[in-house]
């Protein structure tokens, strides 16, 4: 299948946003029946390039050929007409409609609107590729993985031969990812071409036939997956050699720092989010929290940070001298006033940890604005801190005065983590600190977390990538359905066991 003519060909594509060049002179080919992985760091222009093919953006320069004919793609409809469909990172579905209604929505059909026929066609597509979709199910009743499936079926329904998936696995559990990959393989068998954007190198190696690498908006090279390895891909992506080891030192003199006892939390609807949680976080140690997203991780961290209304239980902070202080009933300001420096990198970076419309310096000020003299804020220290964070963490930003929402995901995260660590915390909590980050940025974050551990900080690390949790953490607490499913030693735990505990309460303990 190799030396046929490409089904999709990009020639010298350049796309600019104002003064920023997102893609420069990118040429790329896609062949029929192949899975091409598009790899690159955060902000390297992968999504922009794909959006240009899908008709979201129109490139300033360059040409696009489909089946050897030059085309001009002005809208997603043009893209569909050419057999190109994109599944975006953020789903574009209407919650109150059913799967079938969402799939046919926007189709220009001369004939009468016939949902039954559409349903039949949807079932046919599902059977062909092994999807699992009920056409009549409403979107709001669906899991993230089901919604993604609807998006893929929507694209196939419109007759797409070239499918673009933008980070499809970021929101999936390992099992769901496996299911998705099986479907992708089926589609490939059927002669479809697939372009997949992902940060996870093991997935790239597992699913793709060929890898194309972008760096800083430019096309670097393409490598046959069968001839590639993790190290080689990383180096090509980053542009220089990177060490891919997470150092795990033995904790030095761990002491109890945060003791959680019988913690129970309900949400505003009265649903129990956390049930009778018990654990201890110790100084100089990384406590990993594993679990499928949405099993109480958010509530747990927010409880400790003083942001959650607590039903019953206690959260004790142990002082240097061994005395204990109750954190339940405190708010973040009271906790700070007690002299406890508790740093928290929340899951929703722009929604909670940072203010998107404010610049870097003003975001640094979130933690320090009370330090100013009298009525006024001190604006100099945050500015200097922002400069320092930008320099030390290699934040890619036009200036300190740039609004944070204009930065790419990885850089936003660096700003947040940088600020939280700069406070010299005694407790550091991070939720999905590397979600959406490229490999280089991820390793910078792991390194930062490890440095805090070496400083004697009690680190609570909520993660989703089991490989990383097993490499990084000293102890791992597994959450399932708001309960502690088990606690394991990070050095001895194995992936299978943790995976089981994530899906079944106390899963592995019976074995």
């Amino acid at each position: 299948m190799d030396k046929q003519s490409p089904i999709l060909e990009l020639k010298h594509i350049t796309k600019r946003f104002g003064n920023i060049t997102a893609n420069e002179d990118v040429s790329l080919e896609v062949y029929q029946g192949e899975i091409l992985a598009l790899l690159g760091e955060n902000g390297s222009g992968k999504t922009t390039l794909m959006n240009a093919i899908a008709g979201i953006y129109y490139p300033e320069e360059g040409q696009i050929f489909v089946n050897g004919k030059e085309v001009s793609i002005n809208s997603p409809k043009d893209a569909y007409d050419l057999g190109i469909g994109m599944i975006h990172q953020h789903f574009k579905l209407i919650d109150v409609l059913s799967a079938a209604e969402n799939i046919v929505l926007g189709l220009k059909d001369k004939r009468r609107y016939d949902l039954k026929a559409a349903g039949a066609k949807i079932r046919e597509i599902c059977d062909k590729y092994g999807f699992d979709v009920d056409p009549n199910q409403k979107i709001y009743n669906m899991s993230v993985s089901q919604k993604q499936t609807v998006e893929i079926v929507k694209v196939l329904f419109r007759g797409a031969d070239i499918l673009i998936l933008d980070e499809p696995t970021a929101v999936l559990t390992p099992q769901e990812t496996e299911k998705l990959f099986n479907v992708l393989r089926n589609m490939k068998q059927d002669g479809k071409s697939i372009i997949i954007i992902t940060h996870k190198l093991n997935e790239v190696l597992e699913i793709s036939d060929r890898v194309a690498i972008l760096r800083k908006g430019r096309y670097i090279c393409d490598i046959k997956t069968s001839e590639a390895d993790t190290q080689q891909l990383t180096d090509a992506m980053v542009g220089h050699a990177v060490t891919l080891n997470i150092e795990r030192k033995v904790p030095v003199d761990p002491k109890d720092k945060i003791i959680v006892k019988n913690l129970t939390v309900r949400d505003s609807d009265g649903v129990e989010k956390l049930k009778n949680i018990n654990f201890t976080a110790r100084t100089g140690e990384i406590l990993g929290i594993a679990g499928i997203s949405g099993n109480g991780q958010k509530e747990l961290l927010e409880s400790i940070a003083g942001l959650q209304k607590i039903e019953t239980g206690s959260i004790l902070f142990v002082n240097e001298d061994g005395t204990e202080e109750e954190l339940v009933g405190m708010d973040p300001k009271k906790i700070t006033d007690m002299g406890i420096t508790l740093s928290f990198v929340p899951e929703d970076r722009l929604g909670m940890g940072l203010v998107g419309n404010m610049d870097l310096a003003d975001n640094m000020m979130l933690r320090s604005f009370r330090h100013g003299r009298g009525l006024f804020t001190d604006r100099k220290a945050p500015y200097e801190l922002a400069e320092q964070v930008v320099k030390e963490l290699e934040v890619n930003t036009p200036s300190i005065r740039t609004a944070v929402r204009k930065l790419s995901g990885g850089n936003v995260q660096k700003v947040l983590v940088g600020r939280e660590i700069a406070a010299a915390p005694t407790v550091l909590m991070t939720a999905y600190a590397v979600r959406g980050l490229d490999i280089n940025s991820s390793y910078i974050i792991y390194d930062l977390v490890n440095k805090q551990k070496a400083r004697g900080v009690a680190v609570i690390y909520v993660g989703e990538d089991l490989d990383v949790l097993l490499e990084l953490c000293d102890r791992i607490l597994v959450l399932c359905d708001g309960q502690v499913s088990g606690e394991l030693d990070g050095r001895e735990a194995d992936k299978q066991k943790v995976g089981l505990m994530m899906t079944k309460l106390g899963g592995a303990e019976h074995e």
């Binding site: 600019r16 946003f17 104002g18 003064n19 920023i20 129109y58 300033e60 320069e61 040409q63 004919k69 030059e70 085309v71 001009s72 002005n74 043009d78 007409d81 050419l82 940070a305 003083g306 942001l307 708010d331 973040p332 300001k333 009271k334 906790i335 700070t336 928290f344 929340p346 929703d348 722009l350 929604g351 909670m352 940890g353 940072l354 203010v355 998107g356 419309n357 404010m358 003003d362 000020m365 979130l366 933690r367 604005f369 009370r370 100013g372 009525l375 006024f376 804020t377 604006r379 036009p398 204009k406």
Partner: protein
């Protein structure tokens, strides 16, 4: 499939200041040209003469310039009062009512205590009472919003009507002479509670007070801890809670400030210039102020410019409708077109429009 979009719109990262001003000036020129064409077609008048009349109506005499400054001062006072509320994303549409309550408070003190206590003390009490009245009118919806998350837009709007009814009631209570249905000039003989004239003008003191308040508000919003807190609350409440800002407290505190400053505007109208109380005293400035604040993106210093623009358009269009005995709507049309262009040019400040070079065909 080979059609290429001719016009290409892209977001600007940032824009140099002189370019931004060039775009604004072009917008105003275009607006004037369009207004001119409409003037010629619909009225047959020479547009240059019409514009000259507008300018003459605003700047023509010393009195007119004083009136212009006075109108700017009052509008600006209400606009800077609304700015922190809007920056906090609290839609305070109750500026009219809050200012009217301040006016009511000041008038009540003048009528009830006038001549009974020394004038200096009287004015001091007027200041306190009008500020408290304005603040109360603003804090009621704020408390409801902070406690029960009620919709502040409707709430503040409705409070305007309550204020108007209250004033209407007191106008009848205090009417002079009985049966007149209006209060007339308060303390006309004694001038009790009238602000002292500065520099021989009854307008200058108001203007100075508002200038000081404007600068103070600029500093408050940009450099103070309170100003920082209210902008964080406006941008994201979860973030505010995350850093330990008490959202309820900030909402209530900011609205007290907003209402108090509206109250000051009412005070300046009653004590400084008008010396009377009517239901139409504030004449919709609580709403015009919303536009002034948004146009200036909540920067009190820019609000000086935007309030000047609005007042100029109001007074200028008023002048031409009387000078050429045109329909009242004519002035509104001119004002509408000019505002449309000024607001519309924001698009060109945020987006770049370029024409695509046609690139060569490939067979």
């Amino acid at each position: 499939m080979n059609r290429i979009p001719l016009i290409h719109i892209s977001r600007r990262k940032d824009i140099v200041w002189y370019k931004a001003w060039l775009i604004r000036i072009i917008a105003i020129i275009l607006a004037l040209v369009l207004c001119g064409i409409i003037t010629m077609v619909t009225t047959g008048l020479n547009p240059i003469k019409v514009y000259a009349a507008m300018i003459d109506g605003t700047f023509g005499t010393t009195r007119r310039i004083w009136m212009l400054c006075q109108n700017i001062a009052i509008l600006l006072c209400i606009s800077i009062a609304l700015a922190p509320a809007f920056k906090m994303r609290f839609w305070n549409l109750g500026g009219d009512g809050q200012a009217l309550m301040g006016a009511l408070g000041a008038a009540a003190v003048m009528i009830l205590l006038g001549d009974k206590i020394p004038n200096g003390l009287l004015i001091l009490i007027m200041v306190v009472v009008s500020i408290v009245c304005g603040a109360i009118w603003a804090v009621i919806p704020a408390v409801f919003k902070a406690r029960w998350n009620t919709n502040e837009t409707l709430f503040t709007l409705m409070m305007n009507y309550v204020a108007i009814q209250l004033v209407a009631f007191f106008v009848i209570v205090w009417e002079v002479p009985k049966g007149a249905g209006k209060i007339g000039i308060i303390n006309q003989n004694t001038n009790a509670g009238w602000f002292p004239q500065v520099g021989g003008s009854k307008y200058l003191l108001n203007i100075i007070i508002v200038a000081v308040l404007t600068i103070a508000m600029f500093i408050y919003m940009k450099y103070s801890k309170h100003g920082y807190e209210l902008s964080v609350v406006g941008e994201s409440e979860p973030t505010a809670r995350y850093v330990g800002i008490k959202v309820r407290k900030v909402i209530i505190r900011t609205m007290v400030l907003s209402g108090a400053l509206c109250g000051v505007a009412g005070l300046l109208l009653v004590g400084g210039t008008d010396h009377t109380l009517t239901t139409t005293l504030v004449s919709g400035r609580g709403f015009t102020g919303v536009m002034v604040a948004w146009l200036a993106k909540f920067n009190p210093i820019y609000m000086v410019l935007t309030s000047f623009l609005i007042v100029f358009l109001q007074r200028g269009s008023g002048e031409i409708t009387t000078a050429y005995s045109l329909n009242q709507s004519y002035g509104d049309i001119i004002t509408g077109i000019i505002l449309f262009f000024i607001i519309g040019c924001e698009f060109f400040l945020n987006y770049k429009v370029s024409f695509r070079k046609s690139h060569k065909e490939v067979a």
